[in-house]
């Protein structure tokens, strides 16, 4: 393992370059580091995360929700549910957020090259997969089939709806579902939890890679359905969410079994989780 000499807990200033409201409670921030080499080139892979600081509020682990931008930018799609994420909502373009990272394991995009890709996401779980979708739609010929099954609670909870057409044009097949449709809301797609649309996927076991992200209870049932359809534990990848104070395998908060989710994960093959304790999976 390479060792890092600088203080790993010290965040650096990043400027908010764009803000896009995704839903009533979720926002995408495009940021770039203000100083140093990383101001122009910040490299990371989809699935990894940063620790974001708002001084006086605290620090939180937030997944990166894009590919690296050409000018060193990176996106975070944040649902306002905690101290840091709620405070982020008050910020404007030009404001500073402090960040450190990237941390954790990425989605297995390299392994997926030349093979089929099935993405199954629930709610905010689509955020860490958006970079994968950007990679696939921009380099479509590098992959076989590319299918997304995406479920949310209601139509108003769907993220990135303005990008769906681009994704389709980029060769991604989208299947959408919501748990419920409030009265008066327009909805032309499936109603039901995401497992109810799994039969619409055409990716077959042995043909590629499955990436799953969402609430752990959702992933539990998705994995169960995948296994029932013959997918092997080694071709199913999930991203776990745990409380993290450090991101660098020290604070201990994200442990399950002998694993530190911040470093051994967050993206793990199901074969690494199966039979271990401490997850719902």
């Amino acid at each position: 393992m390479s060792r890092h000499a600088a203080n790993p807990l010290k965040p650096e200033p990043a400027v908010i370059k764009a803000i896009r409201q995704e839903t009533y409670d979720t926002t995408t921030y495009t940021m770039g580091f203000r100083e140093g080499e990383r101001a122009n080139r910040f490299s990371f892979e989809p699935g990894q995360f940063n620790m974001l600081t708002l001084w006086g509020i605290g620090e939180a682990a937030i997944s990166l929700s894009s590919l690296p931008g050409g000018n060193g930018t990176f996106d975070h799609t944040v649902r306002s549910v905690g101290d840091v994420t709620n405070a982020l909502r008050r910020l404007k373009v030009g404001d500073t957020v402090w960040a450190r990272g990237p941390y954790g394991t990425p989605w297995p995009l390299k392994e997926a090259r030349g093979r089929d890709l099935l993405i199954i996401a629930g709610g905010i779980g689509l955020a860490p997969l958006r970079g994968v979708i950007q990679a696939v739609t921009s380099r479509r010929s590098d992959f076989g089939k590319a299918e997304l099954l995406y479920g949310a609670r209601t139509p108003a909870d769907l993220l990135y709806t303005t990008e769906f057409d681009d994704w389709r044009r980029g060769g991604l097949s989208l299947t959408l579902t919501v748990d419920a449709v409030p009265e008066g809301a327009r909805w032309e797609h499936n109603v039901g939890v995401v497992t109810t649309v799994m039969d619409r996927a055409t990716v077959r076991p042995g043909g590629g890679v499955v990436m799953v992200c969402g609430p752990e209870i959702m992933m539990k049932f998705v994995v169960k359905e995948l296994l029932a359809r013959g997918f092997r534990p080694g071709e199913i990848f999930v991203s776990l969410e745990r409380r993290m104070e450090c991101g660098v395998r020290v604070c201990g908060r994200c442990q399950f079994d002998g694993r530190f989710v911040c470093r051994d994960g967050p993206v793990l093959p199901y074969s690494d989780i199966k039979g271990r304790v401490g997850t719902m999976l």
Binding site: N7, R243, E245, R253, Q255, D257, F260
Partner: protein
Amino acid sequence: MDGLGERATALERRVMPEEGLDQLVRALARRGPVYGPVRQDGATVYGEVEGAQDLDLRCTPFTYSPKALLHRPRQVLFRAERAEGFVPREPEEDGRMSIIGVRPCDMSAIAALDQVFSQEYPDPYYQRRRQNALLAAVNCVEMAEHCFCTSMGTGPGLAAGFDLLLTRLEHGWLVEAGTEEGCAVLKEVESRTATDRDLQEKEELIRKAAAGAKKQLQTEGLPGLMRDRFEDPVWKERREECLGCANCTSVCPTCFCYDAYDVVNVKGDKVERTRCWTGCPVVDFARVHGGNFRSDRGERFKQFAYHKLCYWKDQFDRLGCVGCGRCMTWCPAKIDIAETAQSFRRGGEAR
């Protein structure tokens, strides 16, 4: 055998008279603050000492291990002020310090913490304090009620890792220096060269101490055994007993988990990012938005027991328990993880 410390690697071995201990503490004090076991409110804790009269070097389990001097219970990570654009400043470094009276089990715990805090991203706060610390260990010549260092291979004698290593002989102290700095300190103390007889006396004392061990935990294949017994009914009993107080993780010399938060002044323009010990028995430990991955108290207690006796092996290729016995000594419910694990060897019923 590990833990008997017969072959302690030392650069120099000397014997100082009874009053040499005081000279030693004062020699250390010339280099910076000296911390050692002191009696306070009916318990033995680490405190600053000026001379030998302050020290309590009886073989009793200290409430807090030297962990507290290296991985601080509360550590300011950064200070940031609005007037400075919140550019974070690290707190000033502490200087040289000595820790005297470190027990062999606690030396093993420090070696475990060294691993935890020097991974891919070394933790500068721990590293600095560790590099600044001169360790004057002391061999144990008797066993306390809950000691099981002999099972864990961590005591009662120490083999390596010390700057200075003391052993109380019938007449005076055997002092072994493991580093150049240890040798330098030793030069400032009245002493004579140790003889073979002195070393034989030390070996005999340690062997006698080891023979007095009252507790046993067979560690061979323990992680696998723990996995096999994950659903054992005994864990339900422990669940009912555990109060979730986290005394165990506080006194454990290897527990390293922490919480980090910002402390803000009233005007809201000065921030101290602070980390503070926490432990897996604490209810919020594994809480995330929308749920808690260990909402059950029994699961939280099991995380403690399994981390020490099972998962640590996966993470750091050793066990996370050094056999100091503190968790069971300070548990208000008298839960004994060693006895619980050992009961699996007997095929069942345990307390």
